[in-house]
């Protein structure tokens, strides 16, 4: 679809805004509506829009499938790791209060990290699923399989 000028121009204008909005939803999540899941979906869909307009080959150069696999796993590990950090620092699993010197900062830190892990994994999962479906015609030898 890269030959349709209107789509290309609008997409180029919109994609940075979409990604920025995703980050807003991500980091505003601990105070207002939002959070990692929604942010991850928005971020992922912004990227999928890019791939739809400019082609998956370009998109794969920007974010290789190998990278999304790593971030996919890293998000889960970040979430779980924050939980284990709670145990190491003397609280229960996922107890954020012990993460910092005072409980309030700890709670903020904990929820921010956790939600970042969720966002990372959800965005990577969206992109990975898109790649797998978009790569169907490339046969069983494609690297996503």
């Amino acid at each position: 679809m890269s030959h349709i000028v209107v789509l290309r121009v609008v997409a180029k204008l919109l994609i940075p805004v979409i990604l920025l909005f995703a980050l807003y939803v991500q980091f505003h999540g601990d105070f207002g509506p939002g959070g990692g899941f929604q942010a991850g979906v928005i971020f992922g869909s912004g990227f999928i829009l890019y791939a739809l307009i400019f082609g998956t080959a370009v998109a794969r150069r920007a974010v290789p499938a190998g990278l999304t696999r790593i971030t996919l796993a890293a998000g889960v590990l970040l979430y779980g790791g924050v939980g284990v950090a709670g145990i190491v620092l003397g609280g229960n699993y996922l107890d954020y209060s012990v993460l910092a010197d005072d409980a309030l900062t700890g709670q903020h830190l904990g929820i921010t990290l956790i939600e970042f892990g969720v966002g990372l994994t959800v965005a990577s999962a969206m992109i990975t699923i898109f790649y797998v479906f978009a790569g169907q015609d490339r046969g069983p030898e494609s690297p996503e399989q």
Partner: protein, 493 residues
């Protein structure tokens, strides 16, 4: 310090090992991580059972948020007992899977298999550990989604449709469970199981709660494949990779049975569930039908994995029957059969996996004379088969004897006849395999095959040996099962 955190470590260990497998990618490394995590979970489960035996139920508030507001992990005797058997099977299947999966799953997907395996294990263990009805749904979904993927990883294309059918049926089951939980939440405002148990009696007669009970029952029965909601199971177990069949047959439906026990005896502890909506009669009729019809169908199967799958359906009937008696002996029988059937079906599916490893297929016509060519494998199959029939000195005898006793206590002689009849049918289908493999001559021109590799034989014999061990000395398992049943029947925790 670690001991106090065991309830959560039981789940977190396999859960966090799963993404590590994805990061490492190499099959050998992924296998190592899976082995470490699953054996770690097994040690944690044993530790938990010892703690529960020592000091009663353990409660662990996640994040320090006290129940009933926060999510509570709560392990009582029944939960710890099921956690032990699930993690034991999980730990034994991993060494077995190494050679088996290498042969049956594409090389570049092996690390994904171990990732899914660990996620499934985490989900199943989470179900046993959690004391929160909604959290249980989440774990149910983790376990189910990963098992769909594991089934679909087989190279046989039919595995894809089998996994898809399982996905549809499993999702309906999970959704029904969630609707049930939602309805209960609507009436009580709580999701904590112990809290639900206290609040449900006040609203038990409302239509909402009756609907909730109906949704929960149907949803969970879909997951545990109670006749006639079993249609997803035979294909899923037949076409899945052998290690997956062994793991799922020994754990997934057992955990679903455990969920049924949890709902009836913990959440609805203070409500007489079996007297509402003919639940006792309906479940009993379905359980007996499952025992007889699935055993009868198993007699006519030529694919041994499919035969075992139908036999699993019959065995699930026994467990539901035991739960349905709702007496001490009956529930003990259901719980002990849950444990024993995991051992025997694990051993049987692993033995068949060894045959598949050498012959690529396990059909009745390909195993002629196999008893002489693969004696150790087929001997393990015979031990498992004898357990399935319920021959004395095997675990099958212990659980069937307990169930028969429970039926006699209630003067239900027709049920006794059904149990014996189903066992006779089991003799028929197990004997066919034994006869063909031991008493038929090896056909001319059959490929010369060696015994399965030791890495597969030792785990198979560990489970087959356990079938004998816990059959000869059932005092440990019986006393734990009896204590679990007594605790569950004792009312609200």
């Amino acid at each position: 310090m670690i001991a106090g955190h065991l309830p959560v470590l039981l789940v977190v260990l396999p859960l966090m090992a799963a993404p590590v497998c994805v990061l490492l990618r190499r099959p050998a490394w992924a296998w190592t991580v899976a082995a470490l995590a699953s054996w770690g979970a097994f040690v944690a489960a044993i530790g938990l059972l010892l703690q529960v035996l020592d000091g009663g139920p353990i409660s662990y508030p996640i994040g320090g948020w006290a129940a009933p507001w926060g999510i509570e992990y709560r392990l009582d005797m029944a939960g710890a007992f099921v956690a032990v058997i699930v993690s034991a099977i999980g730990a034994i299947v991993v060494p077995y899977a190494r050679a088996s999966i290498e042969r049956e799953v594409a090389a570049d997907r092996i690390y994904l298999f171990y990732c899914m395996y660990l996620l499934c294990l985490a989900g199943l263990l989470g179900i046993t550990a959690t004391g929160d009805a909604f959290n249980l749904f989440v774990f149910l979904e983790i376990a189910s989604l990963s098992s769909y993927v594991m089934i679909a990883l087989a190279q046989d294309r039919r595995a894809l449709t089998a996994a898809y059918r399982y996905l549809i049926m499993g999702t309906i089951g999970a959704t029904f469970y969630l609707i049930g939980v939602g309805l209960m939440y609507m009436m009580t405002g709580t999701l904590n199981m112990a809290d639900l148990a206290l609040r449900l009696p006040a609203v038990a007669e409302t239509r909402t709660i009756l609907a909730a009970l109906a949704f929960l029952t149907v949803g969970i029965c879909l997951k545990l494949a109670l006749f006639p909601l079993h249609l997803w199971l035979p294909n899923a177990y037949t076409y899945a990779p052998s290690a997956v069949s062994a793991f799922l047959a020994a754990t997934a439906t057992k955990v679903a049975v455990y969920v049924l026990i949890r709902v009836y005896f913990t959440i609805f502890a203070n409500v007489d569930v079996f007297e509402t909506m003919f639940l006792r009669e309906v479940l009993m009729a379905l359980a007996v039908l499952a025992m007889l019809s699935a055993s009868a169908i198993a007699v006519f199967q030529t694919n041994i994995k499919r035969m075992l799958a139908y036999s699993s359906l019959a065995q699930i009937g026994y467990m539901v029957l035991g739960i349905n008696f709702a007496t001490l002996t009956g529930l003990t029988g259901g719980i002990i059969h849950l444990f024993n059937h995991a051992l025997m079906k694990g051993a049987l599916f692993m033995a068949v996996g060894c045959v598949v490893f050498r012959l690529q297929a396990a059909n009745l016509d390909t195993i002629e004379g196999l008893g002489r060519r693969m004696p150790a494998t087929m001997a393990a199959f015979v031990v498992g088969g004898l357990s399935l029939i319920g021959v004395p000195l095997t675990v099958g005898f212990v659980s069937k004897w307990t169930l028969v006793l429970a039926a006699i206590e209630l003067n239900m002689w027709s049920i006794v006849v059904a149990i014996v009849g189903s066992s006779l049918l089991a003799i028929a289908y197990v004997w066919r395999v034994v006869e063909i493999s031991f008493f038929k001559p090896t056909p001319e021109g059959a490929p010369a095959i060696a015994e399965a590799p030791l890495s597969m034989l030792i785990p198979t014999w560990l489970l087959a040996g356990a079938c004998l061990w816990f059959g000869i000395d059932a005092s440990t398992t019986l006393s734990v099962a009896r204590a679990s049943a007594a605790f569950l029947l004792g009312g609200a925790p």
